[in-house]
Symmetry: C2
């Protein structure tokens, strides 16, 4: 190993890991080493640039907390998260989109027709939809886990003194695979802009805005779960989402409720608009 | 951007950064995005694997402190640091090698012949050498900044209650470009093995040992500085350095001092062995 050079070092590093031949661990590790080394050689990285990369990662670590994962944010703004979503989308199923940093896994169970936004300002919208499989059969008892920002573009979890469970809810579809609830229309917001990732965006003259959206995780027995987002037609930033989450198939229309219209479902609060969102799950492997 | 797919997203991400055309920032950023995206596509990373990578980086951040830079360690064990050293080595000059995590930039100035290891156990060795340019002309007044582990393989900075400046010193070469001092022969040691990088090494059934070495930074007016290491012939781990720092040209011989031998230089402490280390600096750009 004392005679390695800038070309033979890559194989030498891979050889030191005694991984199982053909294993997934070997594949992922060797691929990462190959790409990092190629990148370094192709660009003839200087010591100063190398140290800048490591200092950037160190700074991302320093600002991270259980409530703020700067590395997820980095992955988001470099399109790495969106790419993983795209690669793992299943034929015929709803496309995946960013999980984001604000999910909590123990949001309250709610009855159909509940209001997620009790007492909050904003346009009251009826969100209604259906969960079905790739052969168009409704999935009864599917779990619809949703969370969102408020009409000011803020997640309650981001603000001190707010109930972090606000604007979150878990619903179960009825016999026809349908679900519905009311909430307020969320607003666009910026991803955190005050840390190392924000500095990277500023260095590249990039804004940090995301178009308004609702988050969803869909689950049903025997089906592949999907993490995705729903956006709204004709709204700001649809074509310049800072984290590359928008897909044409995920953009819904916000339709005003007509005078005297019967929405056909019972809700606690009378909606001013309706958004229809249908989800399709593929069978689990 | 709502119609990007797993192949077109890479260009879309690059386009959002409004970098100066042809700038180094653009080159490094685009190269990184290309490699990360290629890696993700080639290996069809799952959400679980993606999250594992991000959690690994998060954990590296959590264990890092100003005295412990887990990202440098990660770069070291993946051969990334060594590769940067190799790429930046200059023709005819001494080869570079790992800076490592234990350098401090304000070590004490010492007179030629001083003992770095006052009061420490171990084999007392005379380190003597010359600093010259690539045309073999001695460099008078060159700065030789050195640090090392003790005879137990520990850096004083790693242990509470020790003087962190022990086993460090800054010398200036004399009119002939020569320098000399005594110290104790260092021992092999393991890089930190208790964090996420240690877990990675264990997952790959890799040890964490480094062969014994002395660290050096060499500086002279008008010359390119060099960060390097000196290893010792026939010692353990020379061909399996956990951080890939060894080069044939950096291995020195430890020669016992013969009975009644005159070393030709004055030292505070009488050496039991001699190590000769010559350094060559290339002109600065």
């Amino acid at each position: 190993m004392r005679d390695i050079d800038q070309f033979t070092i890559t194989q030498a590093v891979k050889d030191t890991f005694r991984t199982e031949k053909g294993s997934r661990f070997e594949q992922l590790l060797h691929g990462l080493i190959d790409h990092l080394h190629d990148y370094t050689r192709e660009n003839r990285l200087t010591h100063e640039e190398w140290m800048r990369v490591l200092t950037f990662l160190y700074d991302c670590g320093r600002i991270s907390t259980p409530e703020r994962h700067e590395f997820i944010l980095l992955s988001d703004v470099l399109g790495f998260s969106a790419l993983v979503d795209m690669i793992n989308s299943r034929d015929g199923a709803t496309e995946g989109s960013n999980l984001g940093p604000f999910y909590v896994d123990d949001a309250p169970r709610m009855p159909l027709g509940a209001d997620l936004a009790a007492g909050r300002a904003g346009v009251c919208v009826l969100v209604r939809g259906k969960v079905s499989d790739t052969r168009h059969r409704p999935l009864a008892g599917a779990i619809v886990d949703t969370w969102q920002a408020d009409a000011a573009g803020t997640y309650p979890i981001q603000e001190q003194g707010q109930d972090k469970m606000d604007l979150r809810g878990v619903f179960e579809t009825d016999d026809k695979g349908e679900f519905w609830y009311t909430t307020v229309l969320p607003r666009p917001y910026t991803v955190p802009y005050d840390g190392p990732v924000g500095a990277l965006l500023r260095a590249g003259d990039r804004h940090a805005w995301r178009p308004a959206h609702l988050h969803f995780i869909l689950r049903a027995p025997g089906m592949s779960s999907i993490t995705t987002e729903v956006f709204f037609e004709n709204m700001e930033y649809l074509d310049e989402d800072a984290v590359f989450g928008v897909r044409s198939s995920l953009i819904a229309r916000v339709r005003p409720v007509r005078e005297g219209e019967d929405p056909g479902v019972t809700t606690r609060r009378a909606p001013e608009a309706v958004v229809e969102v249908d989800f399709v799950l593929a069978p689990a492997d």
